[in-house]
């Protein structure tokens, strides 16, 4: 994937759990079936309470979001082990979630699927940026820059997980690294990377 991700940000608070990322009623969708993968994207973050989040991450009737960058507070992705969570975000077009901290399984699932980069910020950002502002995430420089204000926030290095997401997930990475046999799947054919 690219080292620089630019676009409008979608901002959420602390403890956004997997039920808010993808409500349980949509877990009947199987992510490895292409039409159902697409549909999961339409529901990404639709469990957020409307009074706190009047702007939806994905507009009603759309499959994709206009926000490639999600900014969150602490403990993003807590709760269930459902891989549908990073997949719904990735399917909707999210490329990176920048959070103060992540819950363990969500972080791991993001990396294993290669759906998105789970980046931790050095300081809390979610109170200082608003949904719709344009920002640039530079994975090499480890920064998030808000385009209008020029304000720069530091990100923690992704370290060993970056090449796994770059490769398109655990299996592709393991094949490229010679850990398992077979050819890596071309990323363009992998659901979630169709726009990458």
């Amino acid at each position: 994937m690219q080292a620089v991700i630019q676009g409008p940000v979608y901002v959420v608070g602390d403890n956004i759990d997997t039920d808010q990322i993808i409500p349980a009623e949509y877990l009947n969708l199987v992510p490895t079936i292409p039409e159902e993968y697409e549909k999961l994207g339409a529901y990404a973050l639709c469990g957020l309470p409307q009074d706190l989040y009047p702007v939806r991450y994905v507009q009603e009737g759309k499959l994709d979001s206009v926000y490639p960058i999600v900014i969150a507070g602490k403990n993003f992705g807590c709760g269930s082990s459902r891989e549908h969570a990073p997949i719904a975000l990735g399917s909707a077009g999210c490329k990176v979630v920048v959070a103060e901290s992540f819950a363990r399984i969500f972080f791991r699932n993001s990396v294993a699927t290669g759906e998105l980069y789970p980046c931790e910020s050095e300081n809390r950002i979610c109170d200082k940026v608003k949904t719709g502002e344009v920002a640039v995430v530079d994975l090499d420089a480890c920064t998030l820059t808000v385009s209008n204000s020029g304000k720069v926030f530091r990100l923690k290095p992704l370290g060993d997980v970056r090449p796994v997401v770059d490769a398109g997930g655990l299996f592709n990475y393991a094949r490229l690294a010679g850990m398992i046999s077979g050819e890596a799947r071309p990323k363009a054919n992998q659901p979630g990377n169709r726009t990458a």
């Binding site: 403890n15 759990d17 039920d19 808010q20 409500p23 349980a24 009623e25 877990l27 009947n28 969708l29 199987v30 992510p31 490895t32 079936i33 159902e36 469990g47 957020l48 309470p49 409307q50 602490k74 403990n75 807590c78 709760g79 269930s80 082990s81 459902r82 891989e83 549908h84 901290s101 819950a103 363990r104 399984i105 791991r108 699932n109 294993a112 699927t113 997930g169 655990l170 299996f171 398992i180 077979g182 799947r185």
Partner: protein
Amino acid sequence: MTLTEKILARAAGKAHVQAGDNVWVDADILMTHDVCGPGTIGVFKREFGQNAKVWNKDRVVIIPDHYIFTCDPKSNRNVDILREFVREQGITYFYDVIDDPAGSWRFDPAAGPVKRQHGSHYAGVCHVALPQKGHTRPGEVLFGTDSHTCMAGAFNEFATGIGNTDAGFVLGTGKLLLKVPATMHFRLEGKLQPGVMAKDIILHLIGEIGFDGATYRALQFSGSGIPHLSMDDRMTIANMAIEAGAKNGIFPFDGRTAEYVDSRTRLNGTKTTYDPVEPDPDQNFVFEHVIELDKLEPTVACHPDPARRRLAKELGHVKLDRAYIGSCTGGKTSDFVEFARILRGKRVAIDTFGVPATPEIVHELKSTRWGGKPVWEILVDAGVHLTENPGCAACLGGPLDTFGRVNSPLKCISTTNRNFPGRMGHKESQVFLASPATVAASAVAGRIVDPREYS
């Protein structure tokens, strides 16, 4: 080494590991269900090929339990996908909803949600079915595509939840790369007072360390209180390790563990041998904490997260619309028995739903009699809507026609494990987590109350 480190070292073939090490471990059991199984199978076939075989057909355990008793066609189809895979792979342990291995599952709405619709192999909620069917053993490594897989830590094993992609990898190779978690040590000392339950211990603990207080860590329990805790109690506690963000929770091995595991493995003809882990003198803990069980009081986690801890007696002003008893952590026989003890001879004042975790629990509640009356009947007479169709049901909301689902902005008190916004259905509903005793007493009062006033 801590208990978790000892198991992971053994599973990695190493003499020693420590927190922070990344190690490849061998899985003893991989469990999956109807919500994550089809996706896991999809990953397995995409990555290892359409004709690939699972690494070990005796070590993959498939337990449909989440979205079973629903008309939703995709959910019914997902059970059929599992059956097809089991047939193709020759998988030994599949607890199907129906008895016909060539059939397909369709819920019959005309027969209703209460009357039994499953066949004789169905086992109910995976985390309770695993031990009941003889698949939990001390010292082993259990992976499951469900975050509450950590419940099996009650049996002195390393058990943790993983995603579909990781599970697809395990299906093909039997291995997974893990980071060894640092261990937090909790000494449970003394004995619970009457009216205070295992659920109160874990709700108290999560309140102490916070909702993300154990992220990337293991919880290890010890202390003079452990021998007083039944296996059901230990399961209730280990189940909610994930609610503090933990990778796993683990109990020491003792006579009670052996008794349970030995009887269940013999009964079901599963592997009877195992090698428990005992604590070393030189364990490294990142955190130590003592919980004096005698001092605990009935505890509630308020909406919207499991760490919003209050005492039940402080919440008398919270009026309720619904009560719910069920799930892996709160739908076991002992949970229903305590529920019935409080409700006996009384009537619930609000809509109260009960979903036993497994068919075996349904059977036990129907066959256990108090004063000539089955516990099941005591509950029904008190006004509880009880179903003979065990499963995860409304604990996680599920499809719209799920039994007990909170379909409007209600306030619900529940013995389940999560209370995030929308967890049991409607986005604006609120869930309060509490012990079966507190939920029962609150169902009678129509508001949150301390169960000690009702026993």
